[in-house]
Symmetry: C2
Subunit: 228 residues, 2 copies
């Protein structure tokens, strides 16, 4: 009988589906959103809508001032890259990479998991349709598990918190099909790195390109309202 | 020729000495203090005094709302344990343990290191005279190094940021002797978990006991003003 799980919830496709999956496995789900000073604040609202819609037992928004660190187009005044060819996976790590973001997120998730006695932490990263960020890959997730084994009270006492990235090898189109089966309403989610003032997706950044491509590959209508 | 190093600076003995050591090795030192909602706010003031006194190139205080997570006597309303026998290293992990604190700190330090192009991150943890926290031990530090190798842009590009815990196997008395040689003024540092309103150390918590013991073993006068 599963107990409690902390699920990192950004408000995007992957994390919303991870939340639905954890709930489907029978966990009490504790959704955790990190307010890291992201420029796209509409993400936080999307996370709230998704947590409510999927009946999370609790939804906590924690502040971690990554903006103070700088170094990314997502938290500073660097322009978000846009082009008709964005969305291709390249070799280079792009300007939207936030240094150490997932490590900070997972550290906070492990912290909350310890505090409430959760057995599992879910993160919806995927290394398939992604932007080339280093902290989304299977060997990175294994390194975080090792940190959970060694750096938490639960781990030292013999029952480490499991770090689960169920979609790490799953294409985004398949994540969407899983989510639809589990009742995720993707019209509530948000992916765009650079939304308009009224919250519409730009349709041109990497994240919009991946989203469009995933819905097309899944053969499902994309419910997103794009600015263009 | 060393370049830049990020040094986690709590304002206590170990981190002040780590800062002095990094400077002595020739690094430009970027001191990082995490405001995690600790009850002992006087720590933040101590960190500022130490950074100034040791001529850090920059001192940044970043907020990470660990208080929102709860689960520790250091951030919540649980009493800080006190007794005449506090300060003994026991088997149990004590109530002052903040779940995942060092992982959150190191994640933020790695993030800042990436953003400024630092090659090293210093953390002043010691597994010798410590309170039994799981995230202060050599194998934990190795796990963080692995995370740096795999989860950062620098690591993926072949020049991982080095995670350095120079005192992890060093008794606190020896840390103090090193610091005195390097010009650390320990009267500026703060260790107490539960200071009085006017900032005096309680003299009774684990951290005060370890501090007193370390100065005694080092054969050096403890400059701390204790409430009793």
């Amino acid at each position: 009988m599963p107990g409690k799980a902390v699920v990192l919830l950004s408000g995007g496709i992957d994390s919303a589906t991870a939340l639905a999956l954890a709930r489907d496995e029978g966990f009490e789900v504790y959704a955790l959103t990190i307010d890291y000073g992201q420029r796209h604040r509409v993400e936080l609202e999307a996370a709230r809508r998704v947590a409510r819609s999927l009946s999370a037992n609790e939804h906590k928004v924690i502040t971690a001032a990554l903006r103070a660190v700088g170094g990314s187009a997502l938290t500073s005044d660097v322009d978000v890259p846009k082009s008709e060819t964005a969305g291709e996976i390249g070799e280079a790590i792009p300007a939207t990479y936030v240094p150490g973001r997932n490590t900070v997120f997972l550290a906070l998730a492990l912290s909350w998991a310890e505090a409430i006695g959760a057995t599992d932490v879910f993160i919806g990263v995927t290394a398939v349709d992604y932007s080339g960020y280093p902290d989304c890959r299977p060997d990175y997730i294994e390194a975080v598990q090792r940190l959970s084994d060694l750096g938490t009270k639960a781990g030292v006492e013999g029952t480490p918190i499991k770090v689960r990235a169920p979609f790490v090898n799953v294409p985004k189109s398949q994540i969407i099909r899983t989510g639809l089966r589990l009742g995720v309403d993707y019209s509530l989610t948000h992916s765009c790195y650079d939304p308009t003032r009224d919250g519409k997706a730009c349709g041109k950044c990497d994240s919009c390109h991946f989203r469009k491509k995933a819905f097309a590959e899944a053969g499902v209508k994309d419910p997103t309202v794009y600015a263009e």
